[in-house]
């Protein structure tokens, strides 16, 4: 039986008068027709802006009931036109999970969040309680009950988001890039939850860039390009496509092991190193979250900082930049030692949410703000190097995500600092944009600066990094060069093992206490 039917649907978002033309057409859909059968697991894939997210919004009713725009055609849920239903009606049939774990919670504690849907539908209190405990048991969420959402990791948040959707027991689940902010272990764990939904015979529609964790789950793949369905495959057909073809379609690999064929980066740097000694950090009244006796990474070239969520990667980056006043320790290059305050002027961090670091009213001003002595000529050169010159007068916040990130990198370059850090620069990016960021990191490293990249993305590391620092429990577990194939294999093993470990344990408490001794040999 078909649960969803799209009949010649077109949708475009209103043009909001932004100066850069790129966004106008992005996400629009053109004459989409398809039916989705009851109980199928459908993967929506395609490059950014192809309309994946817009498709999910058709199914969960946000189009036409939330997003305004030009909408033609009809979408039917169980034979009913979504136009004639309210979001409230649709919410009983369709459960939604979104990309950003930070913004999809209405409540501040997990139990209330699970109860939120049933409460909105006015179910009696004892029924709501029963639903909550039922869902918690089914999706193995019990250890997360009665917690503050501000204390959860990204992976835990996404699981609660799923649980919250499941609490009203909808037939259809619509997920929009739920893995964007998760590490490999959390992703593997999240997969277990998805397979639980599949086992219940639910219809699942998931839009994703990272495909590897979904293989074996999806029954059908819809490939979108420029707002049209360009390919409609069964799982066998899709997996049977030659790998090269998926790549030309702009899709990420189905299997991480295939990455071992990627070539390493050329040797960079002049043999000098940065040395970090006795680095430690603790929040007030809490045990140390970071304790590094000694860490060395090459000066010049790009170094990846890997490790599980909670390993202390971000804390490390913040300490290095001198942002944490409570951090002790020394940072040295060949000639001198830098104090915490000096490090504020030594390092430049491109933050995960670049919106936090763009202050001015035009792209050019943003670059000038970073310069010690304002030099428009030089600023324009830098912008040109980042393909941003046409946007020099635009408001930085009005640009697309990738462009904003490049503005931040450009201002980092303009600041003329030797160390440039990137905090999770590729979360939620498709193949094309991920490679573009890799290109930017390469550009920074080739210019003789030292790039440090905090990331979960193995392909991205292989495309731009020379060296790896692996943190676990606030300590350096190991560090190695990936210029040679031995090191690259070692790196991939770390990510592959992670996936296997989560699948084996099948236990959601494990997310917090990730096994440290993952054998990497």
């Amino acid at each position: 039986m078909e649960v969803i039917e799209c009949r010649d649907v077109s949708f475009s978002y209103p043009a909001n008068g932004l100066p850069n033309g790129e966004k106008q057409d992005s996400g629009a859909l053109k004459h989409i027709s398809c039916t989705i059968e009851d109980g199928t697991f459908v993967l929506l894939c395609g490059a950014s802006g192809c309309g994946k997210t817009t498709m999910t919004r058709l199914f969960n009713g946000l189009i036409p009931h939330y997003h305004e725009g030009v909408y033609d055609g009809s979408v039917f849920l169980d034979g009913k036109d979504t136009r004639e239903m309210t979001l409230f009606d649709i919410s009983l049939k369709v459960g939604s999970v979104f990309q950003n774990p930070r913004s999809q919670f209405f409540n501040v504690d997990t139990t209330s969040e699970l109860a939120f849907g049933p409460e909105n539908h006015g179910m009696a209190e004892d029924i709501v309680r029963e639903r909550v405990s039922h869902v918690a048991a089914q999706l193995k969420l019990e250890p997360l009950l009665d917690r503050s959402i501000f204390s959860l990791s990204g992976g835990e948040k996404q699981k609660i988001a799923c649980g919250s959707a499941a609490a009203v027991d909808p037939d259809i689940y619509v997920l929009d890039e739920p893995s964007s902010n998760l590490d490999t272990y959390a992703i593997a764990d999240f997969r277990l939850l998805l397979s639980a939904l599949k086992a219940q015979g639910k219809t699942v529609i998931i839009s994703e860039h990272r495909l590897y964790y979904l293989s074996g789950l999806f029954d059908r793949v819809l490939y979108l390009k420029d707002g049209k369905i360009e390919g409609d495959y069964t799982a066998e057909e899709f997996c049977g496509l030659p790998a090269g073809q998926r790549e030309t379609m702009g899709l990420r690999p189905l299997d991480l092991a295939g990455l071992s064929e990627l070539e390493g980066q050329p040797q960079r740097g002049n043999g000098d190193v940065w040395t970090i000694t006795d680095f430690s950090f603790a929040y007030k009244h809490e045990p140390e979250t970071l304790h590094i006796e000694k860490a060395i990474f090459p000066s010049g070239g790009a170094t990846a900082i890997i490790g599980h969520n909670g390993a202390g990667k971000s804390t490390f980056a913040r300490c290095l930049c001198g942002l944490e006043k409570r951090c002790r320790g020394m940072v040295r290059d060949g000639s001198r030692t830098y104090s915490r305050k000096e490090r504020l002027k030594l390092c430049y961090m491109v933050m995960q949410d670049v919106n936090h670091q763009l202050f001015t009213e035009s792209v050019l001003d943003e670059i000038l703000l970073s310069m010690k002595n304002e030099d428009k000529q030089r600023a324009r050169e830098i912008l040109d190097g980042m393909d941003l010159l046409p946007y020099e007068d635009c408001h930085p916040m009005g640009l697309s995500g990738g462009q904003k990130q490049r503005v931040a990198v450009a201002s980092a370059i303009a600041s003329d600092r030797p160390l440039i850090l990137f905090d999770e620069p590729t979360s939620g990016l498709d193949l094309f944009h991920m490679r573009q960021v890799a290109g930017v990191v390469n550009q920074v490293a080739d210019a003789g600066k030292t790039a440090l990249v905090v990331t979960h993305d193995p392909e991205f590391i292989l495309r731009c990094c020379n060296y790896v620092l692996h943190l676990e429990n606030g300590q350096i577990q190991e560090s190695y060069s990936i210029e040679d194939s031995e090191g690259r294999k070692h790196l991939l093993n770390f990510f592959l093992n992670d996936t296997a470990q989560a699948a084996l344990s099948g236990d959601c408490t494990a997310i917090h206490l990730v096994e440290k001794e993952v054998s990497t040999k």
Binding site: L87, E361, C394, H395, M397, G398
Partner: protein
């Protein structure tokens, strides 16, 4: 269009009230030094204009500012500033709602004026200090005598409340203008409107 407040509108009220309160709270921290307290009536409207002018651009229905005012009153109660901001928030919110409605939510100049009026809710925070000061001075009487209490009254005369009210209105207008400027300079061009 449906004129009843929908889920989306209610959520917007919550979000902007939170932003507004954090902004004014940060700015009003100066009032923790007690003698600067009267300055709050000037500072709050001045900085509050930036979030409020953005909020106004999202308002298309009646009642959103009234609810915002009441919520502000409730937080003020929770932060120990008494309950007087609940009625003042309600009254000035309601007037502001009428003002925006009368121009069909389109007139930017009216927005600035509305912000001036809305800002007067802060007077609720001064009512306990000013209106009940008689009682306080009376309580000092046994120990210090009438003459002393009279001298004190002169320091904080009866007309202080209207003066503060006017001050908050005027700086609300200035804050509205600043907010309008920032709105054009940033929010419009950043495409979040």
């Amino acid at each position: 269009m449906n004129n009843k407040l929908q889920g989306k509108d209610l959520i917007n009220i919550g979000i902007f009230t939170a932003i507004y309160f954090i902004v004014i709270f940060a700015a009003a921290s100066i009032g923790f030094i007690p003698i600067f307290i009267p300055l709050i009536s000037v500072i709050v409207p001045l900085v509050g204009g930036i979030p409020m002018m953005l909020f106004f651009s999202k308002i298309k229905k009646f009642g959103m500012l009234t609810i915002c005012g009441v919520l502000l009153g409730i937080i003020m109660l929770l932060t120990g500033m008494g309950y007087w901001c609940i009625p003042t928030g309600l009254i000035f919110g309601l007037i502001s709602d009428f003002m925006l409605k009368s121009c069909d939510y389109k007139n930017a100049k009216r927005g600035v004026l509305t912000h001036g009026v809305f800002s007067m809710w802060v007077i609720g925070a001064f009512i306990p200090i000013v209106v009940t000061r008689d009682a306080y001075y009376q309580s000092l009487l046994p120990g210090y005598g009438q003459e002393y209490a009279d001298t004190l009254m002169a320091y904080m005369p009866d007309w202080i409340l209207p003066v503060l009210l006017v001050a908050s209105f005027v700086s609300g207008l200035v804050g509205g203008l600043i907010g309008r400027k920032i709105f054009k300079k940033h929010f419009e061009r950043a495409g979040i409107v």
